[in-house]
């Protein structure tokens, strides 16, 4: 196991270097000059100012040299300075990543819990009303754009009913708890500030629902299909014949064996949501990686764009590793490193 993990971890920097190279090249081959985001609109025709800006931001160097300098700086944790925020990109990312992680973890909880539940219920009540309801719910989750569902959720639960707060991570009248993990819910708990914890959780609810709903759809259909396969197996009949309760058979015998393909989906969903929470973060004014990426792209902020791409690439690589390890934990039939035929 340790060798396997070590091998995967050693391969990661090489894969990341590929991601970095691609991101660097792509961001330099856009049809727009990043100088327009650095130099003021009125000064773009001023050659002195343009030259000074190029020198200041290293844009006067040939592209290969820029690339070498960038990779060398990366090795010391320097992702460059954002053209837009004027802060180190690494610092920007560290500030925003926890916000995205908090949202994605909450969305994954919502998506996996509701998805697995609906999948189990749908399989158990195949072709009955509950199955049809689950199918409809899944279909809506997978097909309604998150910017629309987000606005509708905001309108219903925040504006009309007033049950939950509107956009943002916290009531703007209060300040964030002391930074420990960067996730407001956890930091508030650590600080023992339960009012702030409640506020943070309440702000998290609607974006997590909107984003989690997209996961619900995929997971519930996957679980339903796997469950139907498993429920037809003889060992299920044997368990029932031995007198095991219906719920126990469903959850401990059928679901445990049907969950394996769903783990892959959950793994990919997690990585996808980290980089794909852009719309949700925009609608809910959630200052995470997604909104940072949008603003970086809009402002031709090359260092920030590359930084976000590296984080996204790393998220996919890590999630792949964790998913593979989860397979091992859930299914003892999966072996590592065995190249011999069974």
């Amino acid at each position: 196991m340790a060798t396997y993990i070590a091998r995967r971890l050693i391969a990661m920097p090489l894969l990341l270097l590929g991601v970095i190279t691609l991101a660097f090249l792509l961001s330099h081959f856009t049809n727009a000059d990043p100088l327009t985001s650095i130099v003021g609109e009125r000064q773009m025709h001023n050659e002195t100012v343009v030259a000074a800006a190029k020198a200041r931001w290293g844009l006067d160097q040939p592209l290969p040299k820029q690339y070498v300098i960038y990779v060398k700086n990366l090795l010391s944790g320097d992702f460059g300075t954002s053209f837009r925020t004027k802060q180190p990109v690494a610092q920007d990312l560290l500030k925003r990543l926890p916000a995205t992680l908090e949202l994605v973890i909450a969305a994954m909880l919502v998506g996996s819990i509701t998805g697995i539940t609906l999948g189990v219920v749908a399989a158990n009540f195949r072709d009955r009303a509950a199955d049809h309801f689950a199918r409809l719910f899944a279909l809506l989750g997978a097909s309604i754009p998150v910017f629309w569902s987000g606005l509708i959720l905001l309108y219903i639960f925040s504006v009309s009913l007033g049950w939950l707060p509107g956009p943002g991570r916290l009531d703007p009248r209060s300040e964030a708890p002391p930074f420990i993990t960067g996730m407001n819910t956890i930091d508030a708990l650590i600080a023992g500030d339960f009012a702030k914890f409640g506020d943070a959780l309440a702000h998290l609810a609607l974006p997590a629902l909107a984003l989690g709903w997209t996961v619900t759809g995929i997971v519930s259909r996957m679980v339903r299909g796997s469950m139907l396969d498993v429920l037809g197996q003889e060992y299920i009949l044997a368990a029932r014949a031995k007198g095991a309760g219906r719920l126990r058979v469903l959850l401990n015998h059928a679901l445990r064996n049907a969950i394996l393909p769903t783990l892959t989906i959950l793994g990919f969903s997690f990585a996808y949501l980290i980089t794909g929470a852009i719309l949700t973060e925009t609608i809910f004014s959630w200052p995470g990686i997604g909104s940072y990426a949008v603003e970086a792209a809009r402002g031709l902020d090359q260092p920030a764009i590359i930084g976000v791409t590296i984080v996204g690439g790393a998220a996919f690589l890590l999630t792949n590793l964790v998913t593979d390890l989860a397979y091992l934990a859930v299914d003892p039939r999966v072996k590592l490193g065995s190249r011999k035929a069974a």
Binding site: H45, T48, V49, A52, I116, P167, P172, L201, N252, S285
Partner: protein, 531 residues
Amino acid sequence: MTLHLPKLYGRTALALAAASALYSMPVAAQDQQPLIIARHLEINSLDPNRAFCDTCQIYLSSTYQGLVALDSDNKSIKPLLADSWEVNDDQTVFTFKLNPNAVFSDGSPVESKDVKWSYERLKNIKADPSFMMSLVKSIETPDPKTVVITMESPNSEFIGVLTAPYTGIINSDVASAAGAVSGPDAATSDTAEAWFQTHSAGSGPYVLKSYAPDDELRFVRNEKFWGAAPAINEVVIDETADAISQAQMLQSGAADIAMQIDPDTSKTISSPDVTIKTVPSYNFIYVMFSPGAEGNKAELTKEVRQALAYAIDYDGIIQFTVGGEGKPQASPIPNGFPGTTDLPMPVYDLEKAKSMLAEAGLADGFEVNATVAQLNVYGVDLVLLMQKLQQDLAKVNIKLNIQPVASAVWREQVTKPGVPFSARFYAPDYYGSAQYVQFFGMVPDSYWLTRAGQGKVDLLNQKETDLLSKAMAASDADRDGVYHEIALQMIEDRIIVPVVSPNLVLAYRNNIEGVRYSACCNLPLSELSRK
């Protein structure tokens, strides 16, 4: 590994229930409770000499102070850091006496050396607002409370310029220690911009408490403020990107003021706790022609531009873009500014447009590439506006090829190779007409003279140039008449054609007072209070 799903579900439900019970709005004393403004931040910088944006105007006018300020009538000038000033007859030497009580937020006195340092840095750093000091020749400081500014040439607009928040006075000792430089090499050697993102160094009623890009901008009362203390202790501008979200926050009470509600969205607000007011603004949306841009398929002569201006349905545009909540505007100098009284309003006359095009040999029309930034400004979607113009111009056989692009791409393309036809917006930096002539006029060093293609075609308007020189040397009494003549020249140029001046929607909770539109500063935070 054993999954205990029923237990997991139960615990999650318990945690959510507990959180719901714990969630409640924080309670604080009235003036201690932060005031929340919902707004799309879109800040390019918090460095007073590099910042150039609408939110920057709010920030800078709250944390820094200029020598003079624009009064609430949006026209008169009142003393601020300077308690008196004198101007020589030919408008070239300006002498200011500083208020002896003025202090920065660290308690140190505001002195003439700070004024000299701030203006020199603004000029030498060569950023967007640097043009405001372009005519300054020298600054003398005969004593700590006297500043003498000499111009290269007459500058009757200078006192007006000094009401712009970008001319705020910086604590030079503090900023220099942070890497700020004011000398001729400031554009290359100044390293203070990152510091300014987290610190303010002015004498305004507020200081910067924190700034989280794309999240919030937080001000707190300047405890050492030398003027009347603002009523609200803390103000937060909360990043809220779109008008719908702003309206929702306002109605739910999460925000006290929403700043970018468009007229359509304002009609959806039904809460009795919210006040909605629509007021005229000096902001406007214009279309522009660039005769020298690459890709022009016909020669955009003055006569052709004038013909196309007649083919624009101005009233229809105002209805289509802002639901009637706007006004037409005669010239690139906005209604109400010096020289704009009794200017001829734009006319929609299809027959005249057709006959003028026929005279130019273009009765069969031609194609025009229209590159436009994908922006919604002051409630006007520029791409939708372009689609309306496409319909209008089709009636005179002009085919508009609309090319929506990101704003940064637009900025690049308009500089080089130029865009034949486009739409854009403008908001004043201060009350004064010269800024419009210097930006839109066909005069030397004007932004649009270059971008309209001067050099490839001759667009320089010598009469306009001479009139601008005359206006810059004119006395208060004569200035309006000269700007009126300039405005007529700019109308005739038809490089810039204003299409709508949208009204501004002021939307705020009923218990908030002091919300108003400021031509220089958007929203003066220090005037806000709770009932």
